[in-house]
């Protein structure tokens, strides 16, 4: 990522480094550059989506309509959801995969470098298209990131068609990325790097890639059905023509639930790389982790309707999805014990990546517990579509996926840039984010249980105080991300030189490379003992 990459000896190099200027980034087929592009794009989307979140929280700071009109508020909640899910979390994981998987398995590059370039460069255009809908006549999408019909079909603003094409483009990008990652993992492993020795980050990404290929087409299918309903007079979801709005919810959540696993399995992989390093102890129960994550690939398809307990399902349906959800929650939830067992009797130090990983384990587990409460169908009648659900998925996504991405960036940044990061700034960013996340999202449990519904621009007086607290927390969390950006840039530009192994307890092929990792690595497959 550093433009002035030093060519250290010992690694056979084709003599030509990266091209100069803009062409390098437009036409790159190098997995390191494309990884950096994904990560910078994800950071930009994270800050954009974050600003929308601050708009929402600023309006909700006090009861009454102070800043924005309700329809714009709905556009902000919808775009915040879409940009964070498809623009910040998923590209960040794909970026980390692009950077780390080839050098973890000893491959020279991704299996299909040109497709890799294309699957990145679709994203900026897809999100420009989607964000431009905010400026179109009738406003941007205002039907929630779950875009239920008929609000998203018959009652949608005219810009919904652009929203549909943007989702199509994001789907193509994810599917191509997933195909590329599977081909790299299965075919380009260095000899000796058997499937048994794959690091867990690579295993979780392999499972996530299969999930992506299985569900992104279903999402493309559902938005295509919407397109046909809106423009070509079909009635998939329009009750007048024999269609059914509940059909939309079934097909969407059939995609939706595996999607939430797509957003958390790579996080499991990153945390399973970081904790052993800083506990100086091998991961506890590697085999169990591999088997449990692989069973999630199939089981996650069986529980989608726990998002729809209040839609009016027959009793047998509610019972089936309650039991299935409870049963598959255990193998995933139990993985947290593996991390705790890895730490147990370890010899731990607490640099920034470890702090984020520990916060992940604690706060993600709180999100997992509220998920367990939501699985109880009769109780879900009181929780569904309230701020309790908002607190649940923000706990599993912000201290879950986002903290694991930050942990991954802090963990591998020295390897990418060749400089150690500024620990003081790292810890400042951690503590500000940790405090901000909890002040923002913990009160949401309370207002949700007390009866505040989701997606409302204004609320009754009994919810006022916790909402004020949450808004303050949101601004603390929001602005502390600038510390993160500053820390990354200062780590790129300079800092204490990083050794090859960077962290005292780190193991794995990627740590055998010099820091910063040369432009081309493992042109000749490495020797794996």
């Amino acid at each position: 990522m550093d433009t002035t990459l030093s060519q250290t000896a010992g690694i056979a190099d084709h003599g030509h480094g990266p091209a100069k200027g803009l062409g390098r980034w437009l036409f790159t087929t190098n997995h390191k550059d494309i990884g950096s592009l994904y990560l910078w794009f994800s950071l930009l989307m994270f800050l954009t989506g974050g600003c929308m979140a601050l708009m929402i929280r600023a309006e909700l700071f006090q009861p009454g309509l102070q800043l924005i009109q309700p329809e714009f508020f709905n556009q902000m909640t919808t775009m915040h959801g879409l940009i964070m899910v498809f623009g910040a979390v998923m590209p960040a994981f794909v970026g980390l995969a692009n950077w780390m998987i080839p050098i973890m398995v000893g491959a020279p590059d991704m299996a299909l470098p040109r497709m890799n370039n294309w699957s990145f460069w679709i994203l900026p255009f897809a999100f420009t298209l989607m964000i431009s809908t905010l400026f179109m006549e009738g406003g941007g999408p205002d039907f929630g990131w779950t875009f239920y019909a008929p609000l998203s079909t018959t009652y949608a603003p005219p810009s919904v068609t652009f929203f549909i094409f943007a989702v199509h483009m994001m789907g193509f990008s994810s599917i191509m990325g997933a195909i590329n990652i599977i081909a790299t993992i299965l075919n380009l492993r260095a000899p000796g790097m058997t499937m048994m020795k794959l690091p867990l980050f690579v295993w979780t990404w392999l499972i996530t890639a299969f999930l992506l290929i299985a569900v992104m087409p279903v999402l493309a299918g559902v938005v295509t059905m919407m397109l046909m309903d809106i423009h070509f007079g079909t009635s998939f979801f329009n009750a007048a023509g024999g269609g059914d709005p509940v059909l939309f919810q079934h097909v969407f959540w059939f995609f939706g639930h595996p999607e939430v696993y797509i957003m958390i399995l790579p996080a499991f992989g990153i945390i399973s790389e970081i904790i052993p390093t800083f506990a100086r102890k091998r991961l506890f129960g590697y085999a169990s982790m591999v088997y449990a994550t692989s069973s999630i690939a199939l089981l996650s398809f069986l529980v989608w309707a726990h998002h729809m307990f209040a839609v009016g399902m027959p009793l047998a349906g509610e019972l089936f999805f309650m039991y299935a959800t409870m049963l598959i929650a255990v193998p995933t939830g139990v993985k947290v014990f593996n991390w705790v067992a890895t730490m147990f009797h370890g010899s731990m130090t607490f640099e920034t990546p470890m702090l984020f990983a520990l916060a992940f384990v604690v706060l993600f587990t709180i999100g997992g517990f509220s998920g367990l409460m939501l699985a109880i169908a009769p109780a879900d009648f009181q929780y569904h579509d309230t701020y309790f659900v908002v607190a649940h998925f923000h706990y599993v996504l912000v201290p879950g996926a986002i903290f694991s991405i930050m942990a991954g960036v802090y963990y591998w940044l020295p390897k990418w840039t060749g400089h150690m990061l500024n620990e003081r700034l790292g810890k400042a960013h951690f503590w500000l984010s940790f405090i901000g996340v909890n002040i923002t999202f913990f009160p949401m449990h309370f207002v949700g249980l007390a009866g505040m519904p989701r997606r409302i621009p204004d609320y009754a007086l009994q919810f006022a105080d916790f909402n004020a607290v949450a808004s303050v927390g949101a601004f603390i969390f929001g602005f502390s991300q600038l510390v993160f950006v500053y820390n990354i840039i200062s780590c790129i530009r300079g800092g204490e030189r990083a050794t090859d192994q960077v962290w005292e307890g780190s193991h794995g092929l990627e740590w055998t490379l010099p820091s910063p990792a040369p432009y081309h690595t493992f042109s000749k497959p490495p020797l794996i003992k």
Partner: protein, 370 residues
């Protein structure tokens, strides 16, 4: 750990928040047997999670404190123990199975089909609720009663801000009431936390739920499925009364409906129409066209000085009665009675400086609706 000196003012600010304000942190037990059962389920699973959390985080923080390199801890070399793993998987399984039994019992009770004394059809409209007492001739709309000034912070907020309606749903205490949910336009969701009833109202389909309120009182709830612009402004108020008072209310409402029909044939003066029209306007029209009639540029047209409102009266009546396809302008003909329609059209034609002097009689509206 750098010192958090500059964090103190933030924490100070948080603590100084008004202590008297409402800080309710939990679900209310509610006032039906089912609601209390759900509350118990909620608390049981909550305490189970707290217990597991205390154990897990206890071990974790113990390990963080004691197994630190800075305290000279040497990393042990164990990294697999299937027996322990099987144990810590079986325990949560056992807990969940124990949890599933009462949950199933409550869910089965919720799907009980015994006959109800009173059936209410609840229809979700874009941004109000309609209640029809099946078998009775009672059918009314229930819209938000909080004034636009309170919402726009031009007036102090009332105690039940955003949770008050003009016509609450009145129910007898102790009787089983069966709700039949459907919707007129998009998906809404009818939720009253104290009755523990939440069901989606889906256009083209009918859903049902039931409750037996045990104590008289006012129970408030809100729409819980995103349904567009004013999703946050269509509350639900259920007024549960003792049987005698409920029968009285039924009689009064029937006579009021009859009086309503009669009043449609009386002569209404301009002043009476204007006064009634302003009331109807603030309930049903101000949400989009604003109380001052200026509307919202680019979203909802202004009525003050608009050619439609000051021009041909027939076109004005037609758009209020039948709405305008493809826009948010609904067909209010099906929602308001003849007197209200005549009053609101007259008000629109004479308010905010339009003063065309026209007045529309309820008889003319009734003819059009025949």
């Amino acid at each position: 750990m750098i010192r958090k000196v500059w964090l103190l003012p933030w924490i100070g600010w948080l603590v100084s928040l008004p202590a008297i304000a409402a800080w309710d942190v939990n679900m209310r037990p509610g006032s039906t047997a089912i609601a209390r059962e759900v509350y118990d389920l909620h608390m049981i699973i909550f305490w189970i999670c707290v217990a597991i959390g205390v154990v897990v985080f206890g071990v974790m923080f113990w390990s963080i404190i004691h197994h630190r390199k800075s305290r000279g801890a040497e990393a042990r070399n164990f990294h697999e123990n299937t027996a322990v793993e099987i144990l810590w998987t079986l325990i949560p399984f056992a807990i969940l199975i124990a949890m599933a039994v009462p949950a199933t019992a409550t869910l089965i009770k919720m799907y009980d089909n015994t006959d109800a004394e009173i059936d209410i059809q609840v229809t979700g409209y874009q941004w109000k609720w309609r209640y029809q007492y099946l078998g009775e001739d009672i059918d009314f709309f229930s819209s938000l009663a909080t004034s636009r000034e309170q919402i726009n912070n031009e007036a102090p907020k009332g105690e039940h801000y955003l949770l008050e309606v003009d016509n609450p749903l009145v129910l007898p205490v102790g009787k089983k009431v069966r709700f039949l949910f459907t919707a007129n336009d998009v998906i809404h969701s009818w939720w009253v936390p104290d009755l523990s009833v939440k069901k989606d109202a889906i256009p083209g389909f009918i859903n049902e739920s039931w409750a037996i309120p045990e104590e008289p009182g006012i129970y408030r709830g809100q729409c819980t499925e995103l349904c567009g612009r004013d999703h946050g402004f269509m509350p639900i108020v259920v007024d549960v009364r003792p049987q005698a008072e409920f029968d009285q209310w039924l009689a009064d409402t029937r006579s009021a409906a009859a009086a309503q029909k009669a009043s449609a044939t009386q002569e209404w003066t301009l002043a009476q129409l204007m006064e009634r029209g302003e009331q109807v306007y603030n309930t049903s029209c101000a949400a989009c066209h604003q109380a001052n009639g200026q509307g919202i540029p680019g979203a909802f047209p202004a009525l003050a000085g608009s050619p439609m409102v000051t021009g041909d009266i027939g076109a004005h009546i037609d758009i209020v009665l039948h709405g305008k396809a493809g826009t948010a302008m609904q067909a209010f003909g099906a929602q308001l009675n003849a007197v209200d329609l005549a009053a609101v059209i007259t008000y629109e034609r004479n308010a905010w400086g339009n003063d065309t002097g026209d007045s529309v009689s309820p008889q003319r509206i009734t003819e059009l609706q025949q």
